[in-house]
């Protein structure tokens, strides 16, 4: 059975037995582009697909499903949804659970043992051969948490993921500043990086308050740099490396570099990688392991 038919069968089963109200998965749109899909009836399960253009991290939709009235209200406890995840996306489930954003029992995780997704996927720019950068460096292709596993668990050698960071780290501070300023200069503050991110769950972003207290509303370099660095800092020890922020960026800012840099720092300091287990990052907790 192909992954697609397995996912469809699982979804049909979950929906017809009322175990979940919705299956969040992937479909192919009329233009042939793979995109997120929300399936509510067993009959619609045929729309679901699996292919190597399934790049989106669907866990970003869990908030809207399980907390329909916003983050400040209690979760909708009766709601239960199923979601299709890749190995990287599954780490986001663990972080969301660790941070009490969702209850694990309310999510039926359909994990896919993934072979990597293509560059330009979802945007009609996929050549059907080149894997995304993150996938060429991915060491765990089996989801870390799942209720149903599609495909066989695979072991992959962990690859060296430091080379693009090393290139920047070898520069002088002035060269690095120029590199980043020229990258941030293109930013149009569309906030797609933030919106696509499952970890960016603040009800009001610090950098989009209407009082200009932290950064102004303008599109100046100071503001854009502060937004990107601030966002990277807020994701330190929380980012699971799905690189959605980088994929959705309309002006190709290499945001993933910042996230990888800080993930490395947190791992070096605390021996912790986000999402491998449902425990909060040591960076945001104190000695007892519980928020004081």
């Amino acid at each position: 059975m192909s992954y697609t038919t397995e996912i469809q069968a699982t979804a049909r089963d979950l929906l017809s037995s009322d175990q979940v109200s919705c299956v969040i998965g992937y479909e192919v749109g009329p233009r042939g582009r793979t995109r997120p899909a929300f399936i509510y009836t067993a009959d619609d399960a045929d729309r679901l697909v699996w292919n190597q253009n399934c790049t989106h991290n669907l866990t970003t939709y869990l908030h809207q499903k399980l907390r329909p009235n916003g983050y400040t209200s209690a979760p909708a406890e009766t709601e239960r949804v199923a979601i299709v995840v890749k190995a990287c996306d599954s780490r986001a489930i663990n972080v969301l659970v660790a941070e009490s954003q969702i209850n694990r029992e309310q999510v039926h995780v359909i994990g896919v043992a993934c072979d990597g997704v293509f560059e330009g996927a979802g945007l009609g720019r996929s050549d059907g051969a080149t894997l995304q950068h993150r996938c060429t460096e991915c060491g765990e292709r089996t989801p870390v948490t799942y209720d149903t596993l599609i495909g066989e668990p695979q072991a992959v050698d962990t690859l060296d993921s430091e080379h693009d960071l090393a290139h920047l780290e070898a520069m002088t501070p002035a060269e690095r500043a120029e590199f980043w300023l020229s990258q941030f200069d293109r930013c149009i503050r569309c906030y797609a990086c933030r919106q696509a991110c499952p970890m960016c769950s603040c009800p009001t972003c610090l950098y989009e308050r209407d009082d200009s207290q932290w950064i102004g509303m303008g599109n100046g370099l100071n503001e854009k740099r502060t937004f990107h660095l601030g966002r990277a800092y807020h994701l330190a020890g929380r980012c699971i490396g799905c690189d959605e922020c980088e994929r959705v960026c309309p002006v190709d800012i290499p945001i993933g570099l910042l996230n990888r840099k800080l993930a490395g720092e947190v791992e070096a300091a605390f021996g912790y990688r986000a999402g491998l287990e449902p425990i909060p990052s040591p960076l945001t907790t104190i000695l007892s392991g519980k928020e004081g």
């Binding site: 920047l168 780290e169 501070p173 002035a174 060269e175 690095r176 500043a177 120029e178 590199f179 980043w180 300023l181 020229s182 200069d185 610090l206 932290w214 950064i215 303008g218 599109n219 100046g220 370099l221 100071n222 854009k224 740099r225 502060t226 660095l229 601030g230 990277a232 800092y233 330190a236 020890g237 910042l258 840099k261 800080l262 720092e265 947190v266 300091a269 040591p282 960076l283 104190i286 000695l287 004081g292």
Partner: protein
Amino acid sequence: MTYEPRIIGFLCTWCSYTGADLAGTARLQSAWNLRSIRVPCSGRVSPELIMKAFDQGADGVLVLGCHIGECHYDNGNHRTAKRLPVLHSLMEFAGLEPERLRLGWVSASEGERFARIVNEFTDVVRELGPCSWQQNGHRPQAVRAILESEV
């Protein structure tokens, strides 16, 4: 006129700020370049405040708190001790000279230590010269013109 750096100091009110007072009453010379901001705890100094200080033209930022184990709030300085190194590496990665940001511990009785840290830090930053972090052009067009003329 020789260059004098502008340094922002975030001082914990329970120890470092009192330590600064002690340095004053003991008539110890410490660099006047430090603009002190009194905070209830070094753990209150969020990374955003430090970034904002640099955005607004600080040449250096010094964060001083209580020694580990002596925090008035039990674990506030533990948070600082975790946060600052991560922020430090981030800002360094984005092009800030690492010497411009420093975290230190000064107790209320360490007036001499306070003066020494401030003087050392000021010397280091003075040596580095003016910080180019702040983008004064403000409108991207202006900055872009500067960047392009340098290429």
